[in-house]
Symmetry: C2
């Protein structure tokens, strides 16, 4: 059993200062929704997002969707040997129950997450997704894993298989839920080690998939 944390994930609702921007308003109107209730999405709100603080880690719900899907589609998760937590760049955390079916269609995923922001918890099948306010250090204080390994292209050269072989039961693996850049200092401080598992920077979902596959091998095969 391990815990995967997608850290500093670029998932949030449209912030109040951007809710009146034309690109946001017209997208919200198209969806028949209030601008303050929809996910910030760079592919629709690019014009509104120009110059936003920490822009590089914001408004990419598509990336978070891909990484979450990757994780919950593994035999590891289906056999209850993986806990998945999504920490956002705004210090929210989404906890997934067991056997959650993350919607494959993006618009359904967005609807689910928007509901989660409104209501704090939603059922997806028999189980729940819950959202609460929590910083990355607070999450680690709560789950108290024996070791915390971050994966980053800025880390010490290693490989998926080597990292997997070194994970004790209960370990926590941390992968960025953002497009570019490294972990913040606040996150980095809580990592016991940072490993680079590939030659170049890769999409988060690729790293999630390969890491979980190699860990599966160590426990199922």
């Amino acid at each position: 059993m391990i815990t995967l944390i997608l850290a500093e994930s670029s998932l949030e609702l449209v912030p109040p200062d951007l809710a009146r921007h034309q690109s946001v308003l017209s997208h919200a109107q198209r969806l028949g929704r209030d601008a303050s209730e929809i996910l910030l999405d760079n592919s629709w709100h690019f014009a509104a997002m120009k110059g936003l603080r920490n822009e590089i880690k914001r408004g990419r719900p598509d990336l978070v969707h891909h990484s979450m899907l990757e994780a919950v589609s593994t035999p590891l998760y289906r056999r209850d040997a993986l806990d998945l937590l999504v920490h956002t760049v705004q210090d929210k955390v989404i906890r997934l129950g067991r056997q959650v079916r993350v919607p494959r269609s993006y618009h359904r995923f967005a609807g689910l997450v928007e509901k989660l922001y409104r209501e704090g918890r939603v059922s997806a099948g028999d189980v729940l997704l819950e959202m609460s306010d929590m910083t990355f250090p607070e999450i680690l204080d709560e789950i108290n894993p024996p070791t915390v390994v971050g994966l980053s292209s800025r880390g010490t050269p290693s490989s998926y298989a080597k990292v997997a072989a070194g994970l004790p039961d209960g370990a926590c693996v941390v992968i960025g839920g953002f497009q570019k850049g490294g972990f913040s200092e606040k996150t980095t401080k809580r990592l016991d080690s940072v490993c680079s598992v590939d030659d170049g920077p890769l999409e988060g979902h690729v790293v999630v998939s390969r890491m979980l596959y190699e860990y599966e091998k160590t426990i199922f095969m």
Copy 2:
């Protein structure tokens, strides 16, 4: 170098008989598009699709999107050691040039594929995606690979690593681009072997990711 074919992929435009169904019309209207120009999508057109012939392999562009993204996000593809072909259940084939950036956002992906249906070729960056009419056997006649390996939960028990180790240069790997069910007889006839690489049925994108990763190991590591 290998070729990956996503076979019988559930990707198509709304067929003419369904274009006047209420669920399709209201979705098309929301997009500001003509119903005949949008992708058939079970998550929006479920009511219209009831009883459609071969329903199980139709209207899941989200799955095709995930599998394509998985393939083009690998170092294998980025280093020009992978050709990707998407064969659809309606016998269209999409060829991707080198270094194509498949859009991460679903709505951009859908827009790109819809344009491809209208125009037959589209540029994405410096390179092209092209669509033509071609059956699965015709694709194989054209590329003439030394061996064709299908992956299916109905195949002979094997593993990703074993399949990868047995792939000669130029080999073709075939993975279903649909949600459920096996390859059709027409496809199966052209497979030299069919291997089952996991204990249970898995999402196509998971199989794509793991298979390409193991093949990468045989050539890059």
